[in-house]
Amino acid sequence: MKTSWSEWQWREDCLLGNASGEERALFEAKRLVDPEFNESIRWQQATYAVIRAYGRAELRAELKQVHQRLFADPAHRSFVEKIKSLF
């Protein structure tokens, strides 16, 4: 079942802590009494979890580039030699 933009946004506000206490209470109550709604929320949460994992994976790729560039840079030779001598 497709979720409308406004419905998605309301759920997102509740999940990511941007909704009022009243909205949040309504949301939690709906999750308790409506299994189909609750299931759909789980997939929405899963979507955010995947986006976060993707963001971290991309950040790690950036960090690996920084590491490789430092270790290949002649200007950092003494830094690299000091590190390598530890192992």
Partner: protein, 190 residues
């Protein structure tokens, strides 16, 4: 997000920041790991995990430094090293490893089980090959926490509204993919 952290999270600013942190902090971590029989690759891994957590805290404006940045990074890396290698939690997620550190970090209720972690890694790998533009847009908003004006300008949209419409389309696409792939992996739902 603070003004300072906004300034630092553009790609070039971020790379410059990480390079400085590497120069200042990696030697101490490498020395600690080496003295405990670890390898250079393991030192690189824990240091990069520490940098990821540092970045996320800075992005959220929740970083309270009472010491030099290198000392803070060393503290996280040492904690991670001891958890991951001394307690043989090598394959545990970063969130689970950090659960006891400084009151814990924000975890993901959806991905607590190791099977879910594995399935999530598979989905992330799949998205890295198919769906890059959507994922770049979504991570700019949900991971980097840029506002929609900045997202629109980074991705060349005419304005906030068209960027928001595209973000919603991308979310639907990812949700559908997560749903399909997770059901294929079968070990997702409780």
């Amino acid at each position: 997000m603070t003004e300072t952290s906004k300034h630092l999270i553009g790609e070039e600013g971020r790379k410059a920041m990480f390079t400085t942190l590497y120069e200042e902090g990696f030697h101490g971590v490498a020395q600690y790991v080496a003295r405990r029989g670890g390898t250079l690759e393991e030192a690189e891994d824990v240091f990069q995990d520490a940098l990821i957590l540092y970045y996320e805290k800075m992005r959220d404006g929740s970083l309270e430094l009472h010491q030099r940045e290198s000392a803070y990074l060393f503290g996280i890396a040492r904690y991670l090293w001891n958890k991951r290698y001394r307690e043989s939690m090598r394959y545990t997620s970063l969130d689970n490893l950090m659960a006891d550190f400084e009151g814990g970090v924000e975890g993901e209720p959806w991905a607590e089980r190791s099977e879910q972690q594995v399935a999530m890694k598979r989905i992330v790998r799949l998205l890295q090959h198919a769906g890059k533009r959507c994922m770049r847009l979504l991570t700019a908003y949900y991971y980097e926490r840029l506002d929609m004006d900045n997202v629109a300008s980074r991705f060349g949209f005419s304005g906030k509204r068209s960027a928001t419409v595209q973000k919603f389309k991308c979310l639907q696409k990812v949700k559908q993919l997560v749903n399909e792939k997770s059901l294929q992996y079968e070990d997702f739902m409780e």
